[in-house]
Amino acid sequence: MPLDVDARVIANRRLSADYNVVAFEAPAIARAARPGQFVMIKTSRGLDPLLRRPFSIFEVLRDETGAPSGISIFNKRIGAGTSLLAQVEPGERLQVLGPLGRPFEPVDPPADAWMIAGGVGLAPFLTLAEALAVRRTRTTLFYGARRAGELYCVDLFDALGVRVVLATEDGSRGVPGRITAPLEAALGERPLGEPVKLFVCGPTPMMRACAGLARVHGRACDVSLEQVMGCGLGGCYSCVVPARRDEGHPHHTRTCIEGPVFDAQRIVWDAMQPH
């Protein structure tokens, strides 16, 4: 059951002109959160911007005793709502509704977990990495961005023992080019007897490419989709994607309640709107 919290902003860590991490005091949401779930945040106190904006839960924050005390989000400025979130000051309060949506299903050893993140698609993976670390699942993060300056928070993954593979389109850090290249290489090298599950979040073309690689290589693959969401609770039918139910005919399926995490093979990628 989701909760709505009038959450106090604890910190706003500016990572760059476009990215920041906002931490909220929200113990109840923090306790209930599972990896890959999201919250809907009201970015203003007035009626404009009107609708809440969906954000993956980036971190579960803990107090001195280790008890969950809040959450943070990894915010990329693209429009009015994310710009307001870029500017918040500690002490302000915003409505945070969550946790929402179908979480990732982590895997246990001997399976490995490979997380593939493009840009702001990094957001759902820190909580997943924590859950995988608890299970002692060997985890790799494939993380791509346009340039070195747009790769953030890699140290947080290092600290969890995650192996990190980076790629930048301009070659300024890690493998030059798209992150799907090192992923494809790794898939090719891995013996079929060694199980691995892919977890993907990023731009639609990237997720589509990963879904294709997973299919070709016969690997399980979860994708976390980012559709425009009006309500986050199944009320408005705005967030639909073309998805098959049980191998059957595809339907417009609500991302907010049947996702955001889907088995990649359920999605009719040809019919997905590019973002």
Partner: protein, 312 residues
């Protein structure tokens, strides 16, 4: 305190109704809202058969409002009766079914099927959806069309019949009168305003469907005016809506002339809005010594406020 309101044969415990298309089939909100505490739940518009609706993007936010062009995606009346209605009954929800048709016959058929089902409280006739080409609004934008649908459905059901009017007309009151004369038990208004948003960089409409319907607080003052106009020409109950965000907004509609209200877009913004609205109604009644909430309906005082002191 008495918050009840009667619409034909149906009595609602209070005037707060979840608006059609903004509350799924009600069951989606079972965890968040006590469905039995609402006056009623108006479920998403239903055709005879399943529909996939329009391709996304289906919504776009606008200042204090939103456009939608969902295209009436829905599971069809049969699956609704089989799968959703029992769950709604189990939660003791009062159910208003919003019905759609591409032809007169489809409206009649859907109405007939729902009249035989257990647990349907009333039928809201969606003759005002701006997002589908066939049927619907072509009835709602002409007086003869409105008359035809309402009287045809009237003949096949004993359930309260509530045509939902479009605001996209010059004189909404004439449609209210046509609905009343055709045997409607009540009217709902407003549906959304036909509107458009364009991405200036791609020069394409922001909605795949090109145009969509504007809802939310942005439209409230226009909707209140329309309720006020309709109240002056019809005697049947009016269910008012358009951008209600607070108990005061709901009361504003009631004072303008609405017997009950629906809340759509703001339920997206705050799914926990319902107890807040209810508390607000109670607080208002207590503060103003009102024992029967229906007593405020249509009581807006439009007597001149001051003598004109200046030639104008």
């Amino acid at each position: 305190m008495d918050l009840s309101v009667t619409i034909g044969s149906l009595t609602l415990a209070n005037p707060l109704i979840a608006a059609s298309g903004c509350f799924g089939y009600g069951v989606e909100y079972g965890d968040v809202v006590d469905l039995a505490s609402l006056g009623a739940v108006a479920v998403k518009g239903l055709f005879l058969t399943e529909r996939e609706g329009h391709a996304p993007p289906r919504i776009v936010e606008t200042p204090s409002g939103m456009l939608n062009a969902i295209g009436l995606q829905g599971i069809g009346v049969h699956r609704f009766i089989a799968q959703q209605l029992p769950a709604l009954r189990a939660r003791r929800a009062t159910v208003i079914v919003n019905i759609c048709g591409t032809t007169l016959e489809e409206y009649v058929e859907v109405a007939r099927i729902l009249s035989d089902a257990d647990g349907v409280g009333a039928l809201e006739l969606n003759i005002s959806c701006p997002n589908i080409k066939e049927g619907g609004i072509t009835f709602g934008c002409s007086l003869p069309g409105t008359h035809a649908v309402v009287s045809a459905v009237r003949k096949v059901t004993r359930l309260p019949v509530i045509p939902k009017l479009t605001p996209n007309v010059t004189d909404v009151a004439s449609f209210a009168r046509a609905a009343e004369e055709s045997g409607a038990d009540a009217i709902s208004l407003v549906n959304t305003f036909l509107a458009m948003a364009i991405d200036v960089h791609t020069r394409r409409p922001r909605l795949t469907n090109i145009v969509g319907g504007l809802s939310g607080p942005a439209i409230r003052p226009i909707a209140v005016r329309m309720v006020y106009e309709c109240r002056r020409v019809v005697k049947i109950p009016i269910i008012g809506m358009g951008g209600i965000a607070t108990a005061e907004d709901a009361l504003e509609f009631m004072i303008a002339g609405a017997n009950a209200v629906q809340v759509g877009t703001m339920n997206f913004v705050d799914p926990f809005i319902w107890p807040k609205l209810m508390d607000g109604l109670h607080a208002y009644m207590a503060a103003h010594g009102i024992v029967r909430l229906q007593d405020i309906v249509g009581t807006v005082d439009t007597t001149a406020r001051q003598n004109s002191w200046i030639s104008s």
